[in-house]
Structures are given as C-alpha cells and as structure tokens.
C-alpha cells in the first residue's frame, strides 16, 4: 500500500503536547524542566520528521524520546531524594490546588519519590494505559524488568499512600 500518511508538524504538536509535557512533568517533578524537555523533544521530531511513518509511530517515537530525555535531565540534575522533597514542598512541582482530589495530588507527589525505573513504568502504565510489553518497547527494557518495576512500584506507592492517609487522619 502506498505511504499515504504525511507528517504535519503543527498537528503533531497540537495532538501530543500534553502527553509529552505530562510525561516530562511526572518524571522530573519540575514544570520548567518539563517544558524544556517538551521543546527539545518536538525540535528533535522536526529534525526526524521524514522518518516518521504513521500517526501511531509518531506517538511511540514521542513517548520513547520524552522518557529518554527525562532520564537524561534527571541524571544531569543529580536530584537526591531530600532535594526533591524540598522542591515539592516549595511548590516547584505539581500544585495540589490544581487537582480535584487531595489524594490524587499526594499520589503525584509520592510518585516523584520512587526510583526512576519504577516511576517510568507506573507513569506509562497509568497515564498512557500501556501494557507491560508496550512499556518495554518504549523504554527498551526487557518485559520481565518492566513487570517487576510495575509490581514493586505499585506496592511502594500504595504503602506510602496509606501511610499518608493515616497521618492525614491522625492530623485531622
């Protein structure tokens, strides 16, 4: 079949900017960094536009490059757990008042405290609804590793969330 689909850069930006931005934000916990990542990713897309074969390929490519750039940004920043908590508490990250559910806001904040590999797996699973196999392809990791990260990440996040709920109720 003839290659009918032609990539339109502006349309791709319109369609995927919130996905790219959200992935960057949840991986780094920093709005400014997330926007930088989004810009870098789309500029790289512009350079590789000729190699994009379809709409789904564009989506896959954007996810993969965004996750890779986010990991690079984290490595460059060399964020330690305590520094990240300070940033979150000082409101550089996701703002609680913008969320509908206080628990939801707290879950986002707790996500940022997980190890990077677990965070990546959970974000792709629960933000993007990807299967473990799709996550593995995006992160270029073995499926078994992804499943392990999902399981451990979910368990750790749930434990932290339940501890938070207990403290919240005790406080009230």
């Amino acid at each position: 079949m003839a290659h009918d689909w032609q990539p339109d850069f502006e349309k791709l930006v319109d369609e995927h900017q919130s996905m790219v931005y959200s992935l960057g934000l949840r991986m780094t916990g920093d709005r400014g960094l997330a926007e930088e990542i989004a810009q870098d990713v789309f500029l790289e897309l512009d350079r590789h536009l000729g190699k994009i074969e379809s709409s789904s390929h564009a989506c896959f490519w954007l996810r993969r490059v965004t996750m890779s750039r986010s990991a690079d940004a984290l490595r460059r920043r060399k964020v330690r757990q305590m520094d990240l908590w300070v940033e979150i508490e000082e409101g550089h990250g996701i703002h609680a008042e913008e969320r509908i559910s206080p628990l939801g806001a707290r879950l986002e904040q707790l996500l940022a405290t997980l190890p990077e590999s677990q965070r990546a797996a959970l974000v792709l699973r629960y933000q993007e609804d990807l299967t473990p196999e799709e996550i593995a392809a995006t992160l270029e990791a073995p499926v078994a590793t992804v499943k392990s990260n999902l399981q451990r990440g979910l368990k750790l996040l749930r434990t932290k969330a339940e501890m938070h709920l207990k403290e919240y109720i005790r406080g009230v």
């Binding site: 810009q39 628990l103 629960y126 933000q127 979910l154």
Partner: protein, 108 residues
C-alpha cells in the same frame, strides 16, 4: 486503613495520572524556537557554501600557479640548453678556424 482493593488503588492512580494540559504558550514558544533553528541552519549552510567556493578558488589558483611555474622552469631549461648549444657551436667554429689556419701554415 487503606484502599479497599488493588483495583480501587489503580483507579485512583488512573485518575491522579491523567495527562496535564501543556502550559499556555508552549506551542507558540516552540514554533518560534523552530523558526530560529531553521534560520540558523540556513545561515550555516550558506556559510559552508561560501567557504567551499573560496576553497575551490584557492585550490584552482594553486593548480594554475603550479602549471605556470612548471612552464616557466621548462622555458628556462630550454634557454639554458640553447645557450649551451650556442657556446659549443662558437667553440667548435673557433677550433675549426684554428685547425684551418694550422693546415694553411703547414702547406706553406
């Protein structure tokens, strides 16, 4: 105290991790950056083209100079050979005249 089930917790996660809208103006800033990148690339391309032309002209000039130089050296060598032949010719003429005079003297 906690979530009733794994499913409840996963539902909370799905809701909590909905995509956030991109900040206002992100697309506009991105398009401006893209335009700036393209202008820079175009400028670099013209610069490279100009540099290539200058290099080609310099190489061409060097080749032509070498050719002229070779021709000049060849001409100089030719002149030297001709001079040597003329000198030899003069010397042979003088020798012939001396021999002729000697022969005339002997006959007398």
């Amino acid at each position: 105290m906690g979530f009733d089930s794994e499913e409840d917790f996963e539902l909370e996660l799905h809701q909590a991790f909905e995509r956030q809208p991109a900040p206002p103006g992100l697309k506009h800033r991105l398009m401006e950056k893209r335009q700036a990148c393209r202008s820079r690339q175009s400028f670099v391309l013209w610069q490279r083209l100009a540099a290539s032309l200058v290099l080609a002209a310099m190489l061409g000039g060097a080749v032509e100079w070498r050719r002229q130089e070779e021709r000049r050296k060849g001409e100089a060598a030719r002149q030297q050979v001709l001079t040597a032949l003329r000198i030899t010719g003069h010397a042979l003429d003088r020798m012939n005249r001396q021999l002729a005079e000697h022969d005339r003297a002997n006959q007398e």
